[in-house]
């Protein structure tokens, strides 16, 4: 079974960039120059390192993080119990839906967990129905009732 990506080698400057820039970049004419000054490196070096961190997969993305619900859309977490023998086949079907934003295999009877993101709230139930018909399996819809504040910081 393929494992999640191996750890990427980061030097001390990379680590400072990853730690500092999780908090956010200001909106201004030269945001990288401003962040670079705080990090004690040049604007050009910061941009080159960000390009490399993205290419190496240390960062999954860099930019605005949009809030689906405030865009008028909807998000939910859904889970399925997929028979082992059908796992690859069901993965292909589920991943084929553009509304599936993330999908993880987990060690549990509920072994497939995916996030659905749709532009319109009513679309969530339609997609769940479509996935159930396409796979012949029940989809457990677990939308958030409450989101608790977290700091969301990872020390690189």
């Amino acid at each position: 079974m393929p494992r999640p990506a191996e750890a990427v080698a980061l030097d001390a400057t990379d680590r400072r960039i990853v730690n500092a820039l999780q908090g956010g970049l200001p909106v201004c004419e030269r945001p990288y120059a401003e962040a670079a000054t705080n990090l004690g490196i040049s604007e050009d070096e910061l941009i080159r390192r960000l390009e490399r961190l993205l290419a190496d997969g240390a960062l999954t993305r860099f930019g605005p993080m949009y809030h689906a619900e405030r865009l008028g859309g909807a998000l939910t977490l859904a889970a399925m119990q997929v028979p082992e023998a059908d796992f690859e086949h069901v993965t292909a079907i589920v991943n084929g839906f553009s509304e599936v934003a993330h999908n993880y295999r987990r060690e549990h009877a509920f072994n497939m967990w995916f996030v659905l993101a749709t532009e319109h709230p009513g679309r969530i139930n339609e997609v769940i129905g479509d996935i159930e018909r396409a796979t012949g399996l029940k989809v457990y819809n677990l939308p958030k009732i409450e989101e608790f504040y977290v700091g969301l910081r990872f020390e690189a």
Partner: protein, 171 residues
């Protein structure tokens, strides 16, 4: 949170066609050039000042949570990703959720519905650790403090990322 921001968050934000084009242009990322808002302005046919004003407004309204780096936990050496799930009494779930969310090793914390009998858990806390042992220590720490309030719990470790594209608006 200040009053202006609290009010902004209560108001449903309206997005015009240009805002939507700006979202489509940046959902893959902010351009990695010295003047990213100028680059976006050129693509959108508006002024850089307008792009920056729209981005600031979306931040103020919480449409943009922040503009920053999204780390890949695995690549940073956080090899163990455990979704801990807890069955806690409904009358206490908000208080318990606030407390669990405040722990520095918890990256996401949500109350979600139970679907009985298959799924009895109503509180989800995502844990990241350098090893499963580290995640287990965190789970035990939460379990000890919740005591009898945690009627049942388990941890679902991820073993494979099957897809990760994030939110996508159609252009």
């Amino acid at each position: 949170m200040n009053t202006a921001r609290a009010l902004a968050l209560e108001t449903p934000a309206t997005l015009d066609a240009t805002d939507r084009r700006l979202i489509v242009e940046t959902q893959g990322g902010l351009p990695l050039v010295p003047r990213p808002y100028h680059a976006l302005a050129e693509r959108l046919g508006i002024t850089p000042e307008d792009v920056m004003a729209r981005m600031r407004r979306m931040l103020e309204h919480g449409i943009v949570r922040r503009i920053g780096a999204v780390p890949n936990h695995y690549a940073l050496g956080y090899a163990a990703n455990g979704m801990s799930v807890w069955d806690v009494p409904d009358p206490c779930v908000l208080e318990i959720g606030e407390w669990v969310g405040s722990l520095d090793f918890v990256s996401h914390c949500y109350q979600r519905p139970r679907i009985l009998p298959a799924w009895p858990y109503n509180l989800f806390a995502m844990l990241h650790g350098r090893s499963r042992e580290e995640v287990e220590e965190h789970v035990q720490m939460i379990a000890r403090i919740l005591g009898q309030y945690a009627r049942a719990h388990t941890v679902l470790y991820s073993t494979r990322i099957l897809k990760k594209t994030g939110l996508r608006l159609n252009g």
